[in-house]
Symmetry: C2
Subunit: 338 residues, 2 copies
């Protein structure tokens, strides 16, 4: 009898093992890894390369890049030159290329000086896209960034709305930077064409600097106390402009200020009502869609390294305009970094 | 003793159940449906809407749309007006809206007449993007298509390469269509600015028609027998131009022909060497990335229908330039429909 009970116990145990093991296998055979959705390999590392890598501006781009990586089950790294320096960025890029990543998204500190190194990456089979600051003559597959002329148009339209489309306006900009020149041109052309009761009376160099922009603004305000508005094409300048307008209160008309970008300092001034509006670039989109494009390029090139050399049409667009949003007191809370 | 064996058996059985059940739960909690990859619901239907829905041109766009659907595990439908008719397309769009799809990608036959119906879709919570032919004043979230001015620039560069950058050239176009005017402008401006030894001697209306384009070309050839090249801004015209040049062989110089798009008739003439090059639009990209954008918009709006009304920045770019490729005898085989 002892032995019989033992056999029963064994049979019951084996049956349970069998049943549960079967269930476990069922769960494994419907493994969706192979068929379901856009999904990469967590061991593939994609790299984002910037310059002045510590500044706030890149945070939202990197967030987009990381969000896409999480969705696609791939890995990312962030590198960049600490300074606004082409040689340093070239060295960083060389080091990244040496590790043979699955893809590189880079914002070129200098389009001409970086082109050769970018081409080296492409020629060695690494997919490369440019974001924010491009290198149009390089072999990179795509560019994702702001249409700065269009951003100037949007700023002019907002200025017209803020000023009742009349009066004198001025621009504080950084004339030697191409993207700032484009913002200036878009603003100027729109005022000239669409708003005959507005006059652009001054375009001053603020050197991308708070103090210089403040000084330039004070000069304009003393000459034109009835100024209706000022457009600052970058955010350090915008803060300087706000300081100058604050200091001149009472002596002048308190012109409406439109600034650029969404660093904390600028957003705080929007919230306080000292800056009427700021132009937000699609930074999250730059990062997110850069990685989405690299993922597709990598997949093609992994299957056939000579795909594009053999004239296969590219599976990604040439150029992505990541858009511009106007941030005011009404929606400023959505733009603080999460 | 009997009872003791029974207790042992029960304990062994329960222990095994516990262990295996634990393993099973482990397998379930790493359920990848929730975390892995970009993946939608096969019951969500996204709709592509065109006009002249039967023409070859849309095939590659639809292929891109379908390829994206397969990758994302979502469903698609194709609708469109059979004619080049805004009222018919409006009716089709109304019917699509009534079925409350997960998203709509539409190419507007007439940007002004379609705007109200597009806005109705957006206002009812359906994400809408435009491709190929936009509606800039509508509330659609994005536009994906060719930069036609840029396509004209590329055509001019190719023409310079084919003609040794010298001699007289002409354009056969459809002046009342805006995208064709842009192609003409890009070509004209580039010849004027970059190639001083080339002269644009005629821009003629080919009415998007093979016979009219042939007649226009014959007229030009009889006047300028030494013509070096002709750019046709659309493909019916390109075939007419090729016929005229073929008929004038011997009397004239056999000018190089650059055409537009990649329908079979045009590709065959490229293969035969009668058309030197044709400008291929990024049609697959239009379809693929339209659906990729709609998928992201739908996910946001499903989670929070007022997301964008409450100023959440859009998760998709404003504008996607799907690019242009130059197709010649060397790479023509890659462009036949698969």
């Amino acid at each position: 009898m002892k032995k019989l009970w033992f056999v029963y116990a064994l049979l019951i145990g084996m049956f349970l093992v069998y049943v549960l093991n079967y269930k476990l296998q069922q769960a494994n055979t419907t493994d969706p890894w192979e068929t379901a959705g856009l999904r990469g390999n967590i061991e593939d590392t994609y790299v984002m390369v910037t310059f002045q890598s510590g500044i706030d501006y890149w945070k939202s781009v990197l967030k987009g890049f990381e969000d896409a990586a999480e969705e696609l089950n791939i890995s990312v790294e962030y590198h960049g030159s600490t300074q606004h320096n082409a040689n340093e960025q070239m060295t960083v890029l060389e080091q990244v290329i040496a590790k043979k990543p699955a893809g590189i998204a880079i914002s070129a500190v200098n389009s001409k000086l970086l082109t050769a190194t970018i081409n080296k990456a492409v020629e060695s089979g690494i997919p490369v896209v440019l974001f924010d600051s491009g290198a149009p003559d390089s072999k990179a597959y795509s560019f994702l960034g702001t249409d700065n002329y269009d951003a100037g148009i949007e700023a002019a339209r907002k200025m017209a709305e803020l000023t009742g489309a009349k009066g004198a306006v001025a621009i504080i900009t950084t004339p030697d930077q191409h993207n700032h020149q484009e913002r200036t041109d878009g603003f100027r052309d729109t005022i000239r064409t669409d708003y005959p009761a507005m006059q652009l009376i001054a375009v001053k160099d603020g050197r991308g600097d708070q103090v210089a922009s403040r000084a330039a603004t004070e000069q304009i305000l003393s000459q034109y106390p009835q100024l209706a508005g000022i457009f600052a094409t970058e955010s350090n300048g915008g803060i300087g402009v706000a300081e100058a307008v604050e200091a001149h209160k009472g002596n002048s008309n308190s012109p409406k200020i439109i600034s650029f970008d969404t660093d904390k300092g600028t957003l705080d001034l929007v919230k306080e009502g000292k800056i009427a509006a700021t132009m937000a670039q699609g930074t999250w989109n730059m990062g997110y869609w850069s990685l989405m494009e690299l993922f597709h390029l990598h997949r093609d090139l992994a299957a056939d390294p000579s795909a594009y050399a053999n004239h296969k049409p590219l599976p990604v667009p040439d150029l992505v305009d990541t858009g511009i949003d106007v941030v005011t007191r009404a929606n400023v809370d959505s733009y603080y970094a999460k």
